[in-house]
């Protein structure tokens, strides 16, 4: 991404909503048109800022759900899960509509990213809406025609909580991509296991420490702590486990 090699001081800019898609009862994908978007790496995020009539401002950080390529130019997607009593997400999920302006700043973050030229297989582990940046990585994998083996372990409460249902089906049809769902409250017919990701799930479905994979874990803080501990206990090199946590507030102010 040569265009981002010349860093500028990042400023807020106004994007326009061009589409809103319902993912689940509480999650929406918001498609934004951003003038002069410099491009982004899969896994990066951006900050969204809302300003009330009285001048009060609140901002939150959201992962970018889409991969970027020249052909997409200035279109990016965010997927937002509504946080009960949240300051920002209820507006984004319930109120924001096509044609509305939205103030954003980004892309930001250079650690929780996947680059197609990176060595070794990729293990993705997401909890709830923690799947969002992982979807961007899967999208980048598909766009670039990468043959790097990718595995996604996606922990959800129940079948209705799955974000990107049709997208994941399509991605899973690739020989290089394995998608596995783990249901913590209620599983669909034919899926006997209900429970959180544990050492057994990790040893069965994740790459082994010998595979030299880079693992990306994203989800609520307790989920990330648990999974990262399980990985290290299973012998994975902590330096190859990258994490991104989000809290009950859905992100920083």
């Amino acid at each position: 991404m040569e265009r981002t090699a010349i860093r500028r001081r990042l400023t807020w800019q106004v994007a326009t909503v061009t589409d809103v898609r319902r993912e689940t009862g509480t999650a929406r994908t918001i498609v934004l048109e951003v003038p002069d978007w410099p491009g982004h790496l899969a896994g990066q995020h951006l900050d969204v800022r809302l300003t009330a009539d009285d001048g009060y401002r609140a901002s939150r950080s959201y992962s970018i759900a889409s991969a970027w390529s020249d052909s997409q130019g200035s279109t990016i997607e965010l997927t937002v899960e509504q946080v009960p009593d949240g300051e920002v997400s209820p507006y984004l999920v319930d109120v924001l509509k096509v044609g509305d302006p939205l103030e954003i700043r980004g892309p930001v973050g250079g650690w929780f990213v996947w680059k197609p030229e990176q060595d070794g297989p990729v293990q993705l582990i997401g909890g709830g809406s923690g799947v969002v940046p992982l979807r961007a990585m899967l999208r980048a994998h598909a766009h670039t025609g990468s043959t790097t083996p990718f595995r996604l372990l996606y922990s959800v409460r129940r079948p209705e909580s799955v974000i990107y249902v049709s997208d994941l089906k399509e991605l899973a049809s690739s020989d290089d991509v394995d998608v596995r769902l783990v249901y913590t409250r209620e599983a669909p017919a034919g899926e006997p296991r209900v429970g959180r990701i544990d050492a057994d799930v990790i040893s069965k479905y994740a790459f082994t420490p010998q595979d030299g994979a880079t693992t990306y874990v994203c989800g609520p803080t307790p989920f990330v702590e648990t999974v990262a501990d399980l990985l290290v206990a299973a012998g994975h090199d902590p330096a190859r486990v990258r994490t991104e946590r989000f809290g009950p507030t859905g992100g920083p102010r």
Binding site: H45, L46, S59, W111, F112, P220, T221, P222, E244, G251
Partner: protein, 88 residues
Amino acid sequence: MSETNYLDGNAAAGSLSELFAVDLTAAVARCNGCGHTAVFAESRLYVDAPGMVARCPGCESVLLRVVKTPNDTYLDLRGLTYLRVPSS
């Protein structure tokens, strides 16, 4: 401060980008308290304070604080021995 009310250094990327020309979340940070050395993105970020506080995942010492007032931004780097930024 409850067990899990923190985020991580990734979430500070936007605020830090207002202040620095390079991405500090991917820089390696050394804690002045215990010497723990890790990527800044792995630090614990508390945002339920009047500002943003990053703490060491090893010893919980304050590494960095960013506080905004209507006119200024305060940047407190008291807990960092160094930040190692990849040259590129």
